[in-house]
Symmetry: C2
Subunit: 555 residues, 2 copies
């Protein structure tokens, strides 16, 4: 069992490779461990067939008796999506704000873990004692309500984890970030600040969500037919903006898409979203109301192939068709990697005669603070040590530069990777051990069983397909009793490649005969000979390299 | 044989689906056909294993005796890359400017078509008579030198095809666009303008390449160690900017990457690029010169996995390592779809200690005109009919709006797809027939043989792999003489899934026994039974759906 030095404060991320420090952060002192966030990420392009990726929690699993609590900063997937897996191993209680907990409970229910999990609702004024750690919170703004930053009093001083944040001075729900509380934490002295680096490359300030409200309202003035708004299901403030605009313009709101319906229901139940009585109508009523009296709120802002909006754009939605006169508002920007899907959807909507509002029309702002906000956080917290988190390496680096500008000693800035442990003792910090922190790939029910070999095969199969050679040999004398037969998938269009297939069969027959004239031959060598000669022949004929799988049966 | 109405002028694109009118445009009148450009495009994400995509030239092939010439506007791949395929079918002469022809010849040589192809070098003052068409040219600016727009005098009036263009009033080589000539074409009266829509969504003007020169020179002032510049091989002006900056700062230039070396050599040979004597050194000399006296010009600005820069970033380049103090300049922006590759490369370079210049530092400008330039072109040409080309549908639509603003009648704007024919007769235009204009996929030596079935199989294989069930049955009595054996690839990690595999074999055995108790059973039904029962079982156990391939041998 691995265990870190228990005389020190250790801080590390278990967020897997790629974006750094995003999905799970851990603080450890002596016998006590606390975890901040337990999120997932979506697979990279080369992780073929993988559904989601979660942090490697080997270290936590080995030390699970010492985990005093799991603190969740907010309810986005990349902060809560790993809980259905983590809670199978770790029995520690979860601490989260009301809305965040509502979303977590929905997840845990799906995997039948809800009743086995201890849950405590906190608010920005809560104070917890988790072993040697005293934990308090401060409210931050983001693209989902009820977000907190975490302040941890440790024997080595105060550590602050900002969570995802921006400063919105005119938030839709009026709840601005706890500036005074942050300032007082800073006054008490912060030994280490862990701060969100997502937008560290963007100069200036991120605009207020209230401006998005005005931009959406403006589109409502212009629209003459139906209005369809696509946004992230969890962006409750933006949905409130849509509700407000609908009420103002005498339109009803229909919600389509399962995740959108779920989140809206949770948010209304928990009073995070105010829907005037009669404002929401069922999707069935869409076609019964006049076009100018309806707003459709939908998922699909990322061009997700199965989402309601994408199906409408392709004219494959069961109930809803796009009609000329519709106005479709993309109240979101494409997440990197989704640009082409979104662009295809926009094109299809235009072709169906819709007016599409996308890009630079002010109907979206980021949920993350830009450079001036990051500097404000640094100025409030005045940390001795700084660990930029949440972002690619270059973003952490840029955030590090901002920290230097605000007066943090460049020696005291740690640009680290997941698994790197920073140790604090006697007011000093240094890079310690490296813990396992790879990606754990989830494919269907399999957790971590798909590794490099399976992925390499999927990649090969995806490029040039597979060719299977089957032959049955006699047990007695090794003569061919059946075959060779060749079957291919994903290699060539077989109906138009008969000659190639016939030639391949002949080549395999010749290879078999040549090999079998040597009585000592082993099957593995036979297979290698078939694979080599066929591979050369096929590359020569087609310049393709299908996977070749010789199967020898004995009868 | 299909043939269009020969009393009319017909205009259409054969550029495949996706971006519209990009790769090949055709004009036809009576017995005469001329082709403008013959490019390729790169495969979409869902075209697994495909190398490149070319236009469907079925129509040209059927009418090849009537093709009077192939006119190439400039030397980019999406305008010349289809020629090695097209020239196998069409014997018409190619017309292109000197640099463009140099690049074309390089391509034709590779496929042994150079000496079979008639080639004519033109310049912006050339005039051609190709059947009923009188063709002249006008110089435009773009991100490669020697670009022309095409002016075609037809019996139905003047048709103008802009090619890719922008207006650069301070071009690196001093050759500004032929404003006066364009104006005089406009004065004579243009019946139809086909104009580049790539940047129709960008307000304002595209900046001059000369500004990029200044931005690059600025980085040369700051850099203390080696400088590595990554850009598109074909951006000769930018390479000239790098040469000029190197000369000014007493640095030598080493060129790495095959395509970069090829294009630079062609451009120097043809006098499009001026390299001071002794400026260029061989890659071997890089490590012999002091760091502050070297510039490395490299491919890899798109994060291409096999490029020199990407290999240096991964520390897998044979000769070159990134060392702290290196400055790497990305003098290019990521093409949509390449964002993640580029971002990964930037991160790796930072980690190796390099200073990386990317994004908003002014070291790149687009080669395509923005909205004000598109309006300038419209004002110069004053067309009666307008066909926006080169772009996604929404860009064509935006370009159409710009045309309306400049006074083109909205009835006279054709937003068309590839294969849509616009017919001109007696001063009127209308949408005519639809010609085949799909994508032709090239995979290795195969041209068009990979279709939907093969791609669907590759997609399936890439997601959950394949499971092959082999069994040999006796010819005499149908009993099992060998197997069933199960082999899988890309499905699960077999060494850790023995139980699952054993259970699967048992399930197949049971299915076989159940089926064979019915003596009448056909093999196809046997296969279906195996596939169904195994598929259900595996989905239940793993939530994965591998391709299942039952193979029954007879011995």
């Amino acid at each position: 069992m691995s265990k870190l030095n228990n005389q020190k404060l250790s801080i590390f991320s278990l967020g897997g490779v790629g974006e750094i420090g995003k999905n799970m952060y851990v603080l450890e002192f002596g016998h006590d461990i606390i975890v901040i966030d337990a999120g997932l990420k979506f697979p990279e392009e080369d992780m073929l067939g993988i559904d989601i990726v979660i942090p490697d929690i080997t270290y936590l699993d080995e030390n699970k008796d010492r985990v005093r609590g799991i603190i969740i900063t907010h309810g986005h997937e990349d902060h809560i999506g790993g809980l259905p897996y983590v809670m199978k191993h770790i029995q520690a209680p979860i601490y989260a704000t009301k809305l965040t907990m509502g979303l977590i409970e929905h997840k845990l229910k799906e995997v039948n873990l809800l009743h086995h999990t201890k849950r405590h609702i906190i608010h920005s004024g809560s104070e917890l004692k988790l072993g040697k750690f005293n934990v308090s919170f401060f409210r931050v703004n983001h693209s989902i309500p009820d977000c907190v930053g975490v302040c941890v009093d440790t024997p080595e001083g105060i550590v602050v984890h900002t969570g995802d944040f921006k400063f919105d001075y005119t938030p839709v729900n009026g709840e601005i970030a706890d500036l005074a509380k942050m300032a007082s934490i800073g006054e008490r002295g912060v030994v280490a600040l862990l701060s969100d680096s997502t937008n560290s490359e963007r100069p200036g300030y991120t605009r207020s969500e209230k401006e998005v409200g005005r931009a959406i309202a403006e589109q409502f003035y212009k629209a003459e037919g139906r209005i369809i708004v696509a946004t992230f299901a969890s962006n409750i403030h933006r949905i409130q903006n849509v509700f407000d605009a609908a009420l103002e313009h005498g339109r009803k709101v229909a919600i389509i898409g399962r995740s959108m319906a779920n989140v809206v229901q949770t948010a209304i139940d928990l009073n995070y979203l105010v829907a005037h009585e009669g404002l929401i109508v069922s999707p069935e009523q869409i076609n019964q109301l006049p076009a100018e009296e309806i707003v459709i709120l939908s998922t699909g802002s990322q061009g997700e192939p199965m989402s309601a909006l994408t199906r409408m754009a392709r004219s494959t939605h069961r109930q809803l068709d796009i009609i000329p006169g519709d106005t479709v508002i993309f109240a979101a920007t494409p997440i990197p990697g989704n640009e082409k899907l979104v662009s295809r959807t926009i094109d299809q909507l235009f072709k169906l005669g819709a007016t599409v509002i996308y890009g630079q029309e002010g109907v979206h702002v980021s949920g993350h603070g830009s450079q001036e906000e990051l500097k404000l956080m640094l100025n409030l917290m005045k940390p001795k040590f700084f660990i930029p988190i949440h972002g690619e390496y270059r973003m952490l680096r840029q955030h590090g530069k901002l920290a230097e500008e605000t007066g943090v000693d460049s020696q005291n800035i740690f640009l680290i990777e997941n698994g790197d442990v920073v140790e604090f003792q006697h007011g000093e910090a240094r890079l310690g051990a490296k813990l396992p922190a790879g990606n754990v790939l989830i494919d269907g029910l399999g957790v971590g069983d798909v590794g490099n070999i399976v992925l390499r095969d999927r990649k090969l199969l995806s490029q040039d397909g597979i060719l299977i050679v089957v032959v049955t040999l006699s047990k007695k004398n090794g003569t061919i009793v059946s075959g060779p037969d060749i079957i291919s998938r994903g290699f060539v269009y077989v109906r138009e490649s008969e000659e190639l297939m016939d030639d391949s069969v002949q080549l395999v027959s010749q290879t078999l005969q040549r090999c079998m004239s040597d009585n000592q031959i082993e099957w593995s060598m036979l297979k290698t000979s078939i694979r080599d000669s066929l591979s050369r022949f096929l590359y020569d004929q087609t310049r393709r390299r299908p996977m070749i799988l010789p199967i020898i049966m004995e009868a």
